[in-house]
């Protein structure tokens, strides 16, 4: 019968999928890691750091992510499912500040410590929801924006003109911190550079390119663009070149992802404030191990960020460069 054949085929496919998946040794502690998505080089580098960190720490880990960094409820469901495996610790990068709280509360009740990876949770709200966060580790997004402003001010020293800020997804805390960190610092260090527009680019390359086009039309004296991530910066820089202003307008992104690195090396994108997700992931595992050993750790750990420029990479002697993936 046909259905039978297909039934057997389906079972076989599932079996194959299971065998292909990672197998876990039961004698070692298993760390549960929940990321936002894997379809982004940032999280890829993070995973690499976690992998190396767990190897060094001599522990196992299993990693889950959802289809996109917008899939909030699926992430909550995945989190609940992960608890079925009773991990020793839950290292989570929540899609927003509230979505995972019911699951993390349950983790706490099961005696599983919770780590806030990449600083997505709000400690105050988490506490109200009955969630105890063992520690937060990530990049200081406000400081990253500030670093971008310092670089922009230096690059445009003695010049006057308009500046465009392209924010992230409306309401996203990471994007807001970066944009605000940039604008606040720029007002301090470069009063001659005026932010004429601060618009949400929704992390989208195309949208950032359009915003750039429109702003260049409205403000012919545009001299600099700060984007809350690299994807948008790469869109913005294409518009700048298309308008024949390549090299004249300073374009800065944040993240230091591999596409941005390529563009900077090629002399298109001016700079990117690189986060070091590899280090974030690695240190998260190391600190989680300390927590499990009963040691007290700092509530907040901010991993350094680095302004990546062509000069810096060509010189190649900054020790932090080895963590740029």
């Amino acid at each position: 019968m046909r259905i039978k054949t297909i039934t057997i085929g389906l079972s076989a496919a599932l079996l194959a999928a299971a065998l292909a998946g990672p197998t876990s040794a039961q004698d070692k502690p298993v760390y549960g890691v929940l990321l936002k998505t894997l379809s982004n080089p940032f999280w890829g580098a993070m995973e690499q750091g976690i992998q190396d960190g767990t190897k060094e720490a001599g522990v196992e880990y299993f990693l889950q992510a959802v289809e996109s960094d917008q899939a909030a409820e699926p992430q909550l469901n995945t989190c609940n499912t992960m608890l079925q495996r009773k991990p020793a610790v839950m290292i989570t990068a929540a899609i927003n500040s509230t979505i995972l709280l019911p699951c993390l509360k349950q983790a706490n009740e099961m005696g599983i410590p919770v780590v806030d990876l990449d600083a997505n949770l709000d400690h105050e709200i988490a506490e109200k929801a009955g969630v105890k966060i063992a520690f937060t580790i990530g990049s200081d997004n406000t400081a990253a924006g500030g670093q971008g402003a310092d670089f922009m001010a230096e690059k445009l020293k003695g010049k006057k003109g308009s500046i465009l800020v392209i924010e992230g997804l409306a309401g996203n805390i990471t994007g807001q911190k970066r944009a605000k960190g940039f604008a606040d610092q720029l007002a301090k260090v470069a009063p001659d550079l005026k932010v004429v527009a601060s618009l949400p680019g929704d992390w989208d390359r195309q949208k950032a390119a359009n915003i750039t086009n429109d702003t260049m039309t409205a403000n012919p004296d545009l001299v600099g663009i700060f984007c809350a991530n690299d994807t948008m910066a790469l869109g913005a820089v294409e518009s700048v070149y298309a308008a024949g202003k390549g090299g004249e307008i300073v374009v800065i992104g944040v993240d230091g992802n591999s596409d941005a690195v390529k563009s900077i090396k090629a002399g298109r994108l001016t700079a990117s404030v690189a986060q070091l997700p590899y280090l974030v992931g690695k240190q998260a595992v190391e600190k989680a191990k300390e927590v499990l050993a009963g040691k007290t750790v700092d509530k907040f750990t901010y991993v350094q960020t680095l302004v990546l420029t062509k000069e810096l990479m060509d010189a190649g002697n900054d020790p932090a460069l080895q963590y740029v993936k």
Partner: protein, 328 residues
């Protein structure tokens, strides 16, 4: 779960049929195979707590799927389900959070916003004659945007205890959303399969001209169906709100597609006429079980999407093979 083998028997193709509990045998089969296979593959799969987990994870999508089933029954489509879910939850959250109204208002607000969006969809479709696809696509944008405007894009956190109980309470160890989900399934199934309202919907979907000739007030009926689907989206918004204790304007992104998939997987005909809420329940569970199992097996989310897509096509194909055999 009742499942007679009507899919294999030569079933009449009209909307008024007697196989009221019929669900597509293939989707039940797929569900059973999945459960058996996953029980063998993962030591964590076969447990009461995990099954409750699956039901909890399926509850929002399931309720949306029921809404989709009603409109698809009458050959309509509702692409605004996910956005309406978000808007309802946001308005519900704001009603107690910003306006300081008592908690029952949040429940009413969620349902009312959903039903109202459905009403607009229905009127624009049935009275103004704009195709359902366009109207609800428009609503997808408008409702999503409104939710973002109302909240400035930020989740509205913190609901009164009775609301949180609806989402996080566990009477007898069973999550509240699961009770609500199953209760809605029973009611919706009854309405679609046993009442004139439900049967007419399928007649309209099967042959609108015939429905008119029978004296069914097609336009009014259609509007009512969109109100039902909006109402269910509002309920799903309430469940979401209660479960995560916050009104999230980005909630439910692309859920309409998953909800429609659940309906199709359960044997509802995308072009109207044949629809089953019970089938949609099975369809939603197939996806929930698959997702849960693949999560437990730590299969990458990339493959999960492939798996769900493949299962959908497989189930519909099996159904067609069987149907063709039945008609021969």
């Amino acid at each position: 779960m009742t499942a007679d083998n009507s899919a294999g028997a030569p079933a009449p193709q009209s909307g008024l049929r007697d196989n009221r509990f019929a669900v597509r045998l293939e989707s039940v089969l797929v569900l059973v195979v999945l459960i058996v296979a996953l029980s063998i593959l993962s030591p964590y799969f076969l447990s009461v707590s995990n099954f409750l987990n699956i039901l909890l994870a399926t509850s929002t999508i399931g309720v949306l799927g029921f809404g989709a089933t009603f409109v698809i029954a009458a050959a309509g489509i509702d692409l605004s389900l996910g956005s309406v879910l978000a808007l309802s939850g946001v308005v519900g959250a704001l009603s107690v959070n910003a306006l300081n109204l008592p908690w029952p208002v949040a429940i009413v607000a969620c349902l009312a916003v959903g039903a109202f969006c459905g009403l607009i969809n229905g009127v624009l479709n049935a009275k103004a004659g704009i195709p359902a696809f366009i109207v609800t696509l428009g609503m997808l944008g408008v409702a999503r945007g409104l939710g973002l405007v109302f909240t400035n894009g930020q989740p509205v956190y913190g609901m009164p205890d009775p609301i949180v109980f609806l989402g996080q309470g566990r009477p007898f160890g069973v999550p509240m959303p699961v009770f609500i989900f199953l209760a809605v399934a029973i009611i919706a199934h009854f309405v679609l399969a046993f009442t004139r309202f439900g049967k007419y919907a399928q007649v309209i979907g099967d042959n609108e001209g015939a429905a008119r000739a029978m004296g069914i007030q097609v336009d009014r009926h259609r509007i009512a169906l969109y109100v039902v689907s909006g109402l269910l989206a509002g309920l799903a918004g309430l469940l979401f709100l209660a479960r995560v204790n916050s009104g999230d304007p980005t909630a439910g992104l692309n859920y309409e597609l998953t909800a429609i998939t659940a309906a199709i997987l359960g044997g509802t005909n995308l072009f109207g006429g044949r629809a089953s809420v019970l089938g949609t329940l099975i369809g939603a569970l197939v996806m929930g079980v698959l997702q849960n199992g693949l999560n437990l097996l730590a299969v990458s989310s990339f493959y999960q999407q492939m798996a769900i897509g493949a299962v959908l096509v497989l189930a519909v194909w099996l159904d067609q093979v069987n149907r063709a055999r039945g008609q021969r």
